[in-house]
């Protein structure tokens, strides 16, 4: 690490590809362990459901993928939906329309506190969290600059999102 100064995207690019997730928040770095199979399995189901319903002008991408929210903030969401034209070859340099995070024991606190704080500040309209153990889906939408919970569904309950596009999800079907 360069000597005691706020870090930048350029510093992140220098870090090794060692199986950790490196994220930059206001010049600080978060280094997160790689998630387990169950986490990725749930995300695979969500990715499939979103992809099937996604209109052509939008794109659903799985992480690790850099979402750059400022010179000193670069996050790697589990899943992201943004306008097709907004992606560059290396990153998404604007706020996404939707971010989905699946909780792990290590990222639970970050996913429920820090990440929504960053995405709300950046203007991401929808933020969803899936708990792979409890099989719940919680969705927040941006209202007057702050996230308001719009859905919390469990097990066989169905929820139909309206943003960023209509799609119906049932937590019980997300587990393999």
């Amino acid at each position: 690490m360069p000597w005691s100064r706020p870090l930048t995207r350029a510093d992140l690019d220098e870090l090794p590809d060692d199986g950790h997730r490196y994220e930059l928040i206001d010049g600080s770095v978060l280094i997160t362990p790689v998630p387990h199979v169950a986490h990725q399995a749930v995300l695979g189901r969500v990715l499939a459901a979103l992809s099937a319903a996604c209109p052509s002008e939008l794109e659903v991408l799985p992480g690790p993928f850099n979402v750059t929210l400022g010179p000193a903030t670069s996050l790697q969401p589990d899943l992201v939906v943004a306008r097709h034209d907004d992606f560059t070859e290396h990153d998404l340099p604007v706020a996404p329309l939707l971010v989905v995070e699946a909780l792990t024991p290590h990222t639970r606190r970050l996913d429920l506190t820090l990440k929504p704080s960053c995405y709300a500040a950046a203007g991401t309209a929808s933020y969803w969290v899936i708990d792979p153990d409890e099989l719940t889906l919680t969705a927040w939408e941006l209202m007057d600059g702050a996230y308001v919970e719009v859905a919390h569904v469990t097990g066989n309950d169905e929820w139909t999102a309206s943003l960023p596009f209509p799609v119906t999800l049932t937590p019980a079907t997300l587990r393999t």
């Binding site: 690490m1 360069p2 000597w3 005691s4 100064r5 706020p6 870090l7 510093d11 220098e14 870090l15 090794p16 060692d18 199986g19 950790h20 928040i25 206001d26 010049g27 600080s28 770095v29 978060l30 280094i31 997160t32 362990p33 790689v34 000193a72 024991p105 290590h106 990222t107 639970r108 606190r109 970050l110 429920l112 506190t113 820090l114 704080s117 960053c118």
Partner: protein, 185 residues
């Protein structure tokens, strides 16, 4: 960037991993197994930490101790933090730091740690049962105080500039945010 290759492959980090971190001026902390690397604070930040340390030390009873960072606080096997200031019982410290929850943790905000201090640390300290959490924002300046009530932090004070906060926990002391900032000519 050589230092980063010291990280173990794709597993949650523990306190022992922290010992392998370089002494490069960054603050290395582990929260729930996630490594959080923050830049060294500014002179102004440290100025304020010192002033608050002096105020707290002057009022601190014998059985308690006030420390400033870096001092490791081990909240669990996968959570080791270094609050800017902390108060704990004197007999609870070991040679390596504090192996449990302090009575008070204080963070002085800086642009790089504001969001981490206000959301992640607050949430983790609350979960660890730290009775009091104070955050000083050097901008105005302000002091915000949270205290644990039935397991949850409740904001019990928010004072700005010349306003006084008369703390009762962890011991009686009066804080005036404006007096924490030294005014250089």
């Amino acid at each position: 960037m050589d230092t980063m290759t010291l990280l173990p492959q794709g597993r949650p980090l523990t306190r022992d991993d922290l010992d392998a971190m370089p002494d490069d001026g960054h603050r290395y902390e582990i929260i729930d197994g996630v490594l959080v690397v923050t830049p060294a604070p500014s002179t102004g930040h440290q100025d304020l930490v010192r002033q608050l340390f002096l105020v707290l030390s002057a009022a601190c009873p014998d059985e308690l101790e006030v420390y400033f960072a870096p001092l490791e606080v081990m909240l669990s096997e996968d959570t080791v933090i270094e609050p800017d200031l902390l108060v704990a019982r004197s007999d609870e410290f070991t040679g390596r730091g504090l192996p449990g929850a302090p009575l008070l943790a204080v963070e002085v905000l800086s642009p790089g740690t504001r969001r981490i201090d206000l959301v992640v640390k607050r949430s983790r300290l609350e979960a660890a049962g730290v009775p009091s959490y104070w955050v000083v924002d050097p901008e105005e300046p302000t002091l915000t105080v949270w205290e644990l009530v039935e397991g949850h932090y409740v904001e019990v004070a928010h004072v700005a500039c010349q306003e006084e906060y008369a703390a009762t926990s962890p011991f009686p002391v009066t804080i005036v945010p404006a007096r924490l900032r030294r005014h250089r000519p």
